[in-house]
Symmetry: C2
Subunit: 141 residues, 2 copies
Amino acid sequence: MDHPTLPSAADWLAKAGLRPTRQRLALAHLLIGDGKHRHVTAESLFEAARRAGDPVSLATVYNTLKVFSEAGLLREITVNGAKSYFDTDTSNHPHFFWEETGDLSDAPGDELEIARLPEAPAGAEISKVDVVIRVRQKAPA
Amino acid sequence: MDHPTLPSAADWLAKAGLRPTRQRLALAHLLIGDGKHRHVTAESLFEAARRAGDPVSLATVYNTLKVFSEAGLLREITVNGAKSYFDTDTSNHPHFFWEETGDLSDAPGDELEIARLPEAPAGAEISKVDVVIRVRQKAPA
DNA sequence: TTAAGTGCAAATTATTTGCAGTAAG
DNA sequence: CTTACTGCAAATAATTTGCACTTAA
């Protein structure tokens, strides 16, 4: 069923040196199984696992997403005061945040061009730059 | 004590059409009293009010900050999963977020230059663009 | 065997809300 | 007067944690 050119969930974990437990393999498969990037929250991934018939506790989903992010497999994006999204695309790219629905989607990364960036203050270094473009439904005339 | 060229807390509320209650005046004064921009959280402003001897409940601080933001007097910035910051500088400018301490500070706005921005998807419009530059202490060699 | 991973339920943190009382227009 | 604002305490939402059990190495 897996396409040979796609990295398997096991490979994905292995390259980060993470133990391939049943739960992690299941979540990893849901995240990268089809090779397409996606944005999940702990809650949405928990739901997806439930629908797929993989029993995983919500706490483990939270822990696993954090572990994946720390290992560089995912990128955490915090948009709203409350929710964290995790993006399987770890490259530096901007996001659209839909104010009405709370959804997050990729913005075409090649259409953002930052000509100059402020320098990090002395003794500090830039870890990453988050660009969130908040959009809303255009009001009907 | 107030410098005549600084807008008073009362003026500041008036221009947004907000009722000048004792609590709002006190919080407004703490926010813009000296004409300098600042970043506060509900908790930090609550503490500042307490220290200044202005009795205000935490719930009112939360509500007031939200009202001020909706009225365009403040700009809300959500950085981490948990906390919201409110900035008295409502212009579009980037921020430094200190990963170790959770502090937020202004980054010089004139050193950020966005050459191109992705267009909003059809039917949508850009409400604002948040640029957060995450910085951390440089590791000592 | 043994340190890491998991699941549950309870704990935490940031924020919101219901509702009775208080004050601004 | 009358509607908005305030304060408290309880409610909520997202996330984390303590601890006994399970599993990968």
